[in-house]
Amino acid sequence: MKNLDSVLAAYLAGWAIFFAYYISVARRTAALRKDVERLKESLTRGK
C-alpha cells in the first residue's frame, strides 16, 4: 500500500497531540489541587 507510512504518521501525530493536551490539562488540574490544599492548610494554621 503506497503512502501507508504517511497515513500512519498523520494518525500517530494527531493522537499524540490529543494525548499531550489531555495530559497537560490533567497535570495543571493536579498542580492547582495541590495549591488549594496548601492554601487550606495555611488558612487553618492562621486561625
Binding site: 503512502n3 504517511s6 498523520a10 494518525y11 494527531g14 497531540i17 493536551y21 490539562v25 492547582l32 495549591d35
Partner: protein
Amino acid sequence: MVKHVLVASVVVLLIGAAAYAAFYVAPTEATMGTIQRIFYLHVPSAWTGLTSFFICFVANLAYVLRREPRWDWLGVAAAEVGLTFTTVVLVTGPIWAHPVWGIWWTWDARLTSTFVLWLLYVAYLLLRSMLEDPDKRALLSALFGIFAFLDVPLVYGSIRWWRTQHPQPVILGGADSGLQPTMRWVLLFSWVAMLALMTLLLRQRYRLEAMRGEVEMVMREAEAV
C-alpha cells in the same frame, strides 16, 4: 472518578473504532489511494475545531451580556480545545498534501484562513495570560474572542468562494460534490468520535478553569480583608 474513567474509556473506544473504520471499512479512493484515509482524521478534526470555536463565541457573547464568570471559563476552555483540534488539522493537512500535491504547504485561501484562525486563538490565550485583573481579562478576551470568530465563516467559505488548491467541499458543496455512501458514513462516525473527545476535553478544561476562578475569588476576598 469512576464515572470519568468510564467516560474516557468510551471516548477511547469510539476513537479506536473510527480509526478501524477509516483503515478497514472505508473503500480505497480511486485517484489518491491509501493517502486519502487521512481525510477521516483531518476533516472531522476541522469540523470539531470549528464547533469548539463556535462554543467559545457563544460563551464570549454570553459573558459580554451577563458578566458571569462561568461564561469566561467556558470561553477559555473551548478556545483551548478548538486550538488543539485545529493544530491536528494543520499537522495532518501537510502530511496528506506532500505526496498528493508535491508540496507541504501553499498560501491558498483555505490554508491561509485556517492558519490565521489558529494564530487568532493563540493570541486570545496570550492576551489572557498577560492580564492579571480577572474582570478585565474576562471582558477583553471575550471581546477579542468575538472578533476572532469572524474568521470562521471565511474558513468555511474559502473553498466555496475562491479557487483554491485545497480540495472542494464533499458535504454541502453543491450539485457536483458528494461522497460514496460508505465513505460518508465513516466520515460522519469519525466526526461523532471527535465530538465525544471534544466534550471530554472541554469538560476537563472547564473544571480546571472553574477551580482556578474560585481560587482567584478566595484570594481576592482574603486580600480585601
